[in-house]
Symmetry: C2
Subunit: 317 residues, 2 copies
């Protein structure tokens, strides 16, 4: 099993720079006062395709040889990896096939199609997703770019933490939501070399807390079809992301659906950014564990901003 290295991350950053935005940092005095911490939000929702996943996806796409690239790429994804891989493939002018759960938000399906990705839908479970994908990939022959358990993808995601450290001095804690663990793994890859003193804390929905249970058990526990509003965090850890999580993560904290929605609305209101529920999980866990974060400088990766604007979750019911 190849584990990506710090040099892979540096190479990735050079490779993808023309295709990504160096996203800005947002702060809010109001949220600092509310939490008692000093919060820095890195706005990966400001990537063109709306999520950090353009980093790993474009690292994979632009690292292909011309011969490999001709057959295109293929993946399965709850949404943002699919959008971002389609976007990177469009930039290189190669085909992209994606398998998405039928329950993925319309906004994410629309984004994939806008970038020329071809969608095959499946039932919303990990098993159905992998089964459908095997058929789709066999038919297309495209290079499989796994949404997170791929060294090229993890190295690409690690470029976000590199920029973060260049943009903000003296972080005590770095946070990101955890689903499959791609962003957390990239963060571990980068910070374990660049700033090993920074604690890495992952945040997960209570209703999809398999990474937290894995972390506590010491081995991967995978749920097949968890249900949470944080639709980017439905997938389980795999061996490469488990390597990083088990070696470098300080802790995994969880939040309820209600806490996630409240944190999402707070962020829209006070940072004035549009972000998806998954991105609100870190702030939700900070708000319920204030003593742990008091006085700390905390960097939070806002992972994505693809959300159905017709139905902000606090307007439902």
């Amino acid at each position: 099993m190849y584990i990506p290295t710090y040099q892979d991350m540096l190479d990735a950053h050079e490779r993808i720079k023309p295709y990504i935005n160096r996203t800005p940092i947002r702060t809010s005095k109001f949220l600092n006062e509310l939490t008692g911490a000093e919060l820095f939000f890195k706005c990966e929702n400001f990537q063109e395709a709306g999520a950090f996943k353009v980093r790993g996806a474009s690292n994979a796409v632009f690292g292909l040889s011309d011969a490999q690239a001709k057959l295109g790429v293929a993946t399965h994804s709850s949404g943002n990896h699919a959008s971002c891989l389609s976007y990177a493939a469009m930039l290189r002018g190669i085909p992209c096939n994606v398998v998405m759960p039928s329950t993925a938000p319309q906004a994410k399906k629309d984004t994939v199609r806008r970038y020329g990705g071809v969608i095959t839908e499946c039932e919303p479970s990990t098993s159905a997703r992998e089964e459908t994908f095997a058929k789709v990939q066999a038919a297309s022959g495209g290079d499989f770019v796994h949404p997170y358990n791929d060294p090229r993808v993890i190295a690409g995601q690690g470029t976000c933490a590199k920029e973060f450290m260049e943009q903000v001095d003296g972080l005590d804690i770095a946070m990101a939501p955890i689903g499959g663990g791609g962003m957390i793994s990239g963060t571990c890859l980068t910070l374990s070399h660049l700033a090993p003193e920074v604690q890495i804390i992952a945040a997960e929905p209570e209703q999809a807390d398999d990474a937290m249970r894995s972390f506590k058990a010491g081995y991967i526990i995978a749920d097949d079809a968890p249900k949470t509003i944080a639709d980017g965090l439905l997938v389980p850890l795999k061996e490469r992301t488990w390597h990083f999580v088990s070696n470098h993560v300080t802790d995994i904290l969880t939040a309820s659906e209600e806490e996630i929605i409240a944190a999402m609305k707070l962020t829209w209101k006070h940072l004035r950014i549009v972000m998806e529920p998954s991105s609100a999980v870190p702030l939700a866990t900070i708000l319920k564990n204030k003593e742990r974060f008091a006085g700390k400088r905390v960097g939070i990766i806002i992972t994505g901003g693809n959300v159905d604007l017709d139905k902000p979750p606090w307007t439902l019911n």
Copy 2:
């Protein structure tokens, strides 16, 4: 009548730097393709109090002598100037009295109160607002900081265009919405010295088009109580802003309520920022006048982001 100078704007920028954010520029390939222009959005909704008006307000507040400051400041405003003046007054630790129309969005009233501003409500017309204000100011003795017809305020708003020119090269056109004309006047003040080749185009709701009619007539036309979703643009030009509009503005374009709402949703979706209806008027006018903007580099000031998140306008009806 004192007209603020370019040096006043430079002095303002030095004075207010500790109290404002140097707001980032957002771009979107999607919106560029949709419009045929190259668009640069300066995110003044990312000011702590949610609007560019913190620039003019903090220039006024921090320019007061200690003796003047003791009595505090007072103003009337449809919302954002009230919030921003309250915020600046809180930073200096002085009282702030504001008269607001009863119809101002709850989000804006909440923001004023959060910053310690004391609100007196009035009927939603310019005449009622000025009448109520006269009483409030007589009672408090605070320094009147007019929301736009004040040289300190216009000089402060002009700092936004200065930053914009430092952040983006070769703009052909600068755009902002126009209500009372404070931001447009500040933009004229700065660009007429710094980059007189840049066209300045203001954007206004059809349903509150008194600035456009004034511009065409050659004298100020003031409507008493126009109705538009763009709640920041209800007020008429005054003599100082008319000076800048009549001397330096290239054109004033208008958009319907439906066009404003559509442009607002497009911006939330593709720039992934939360901004208020007033801020969507420039993009709405670009979308209906594409030939005029084709191939141009257009800088657009996103003026504010204080909006009731429970009721995005496209979810109503």
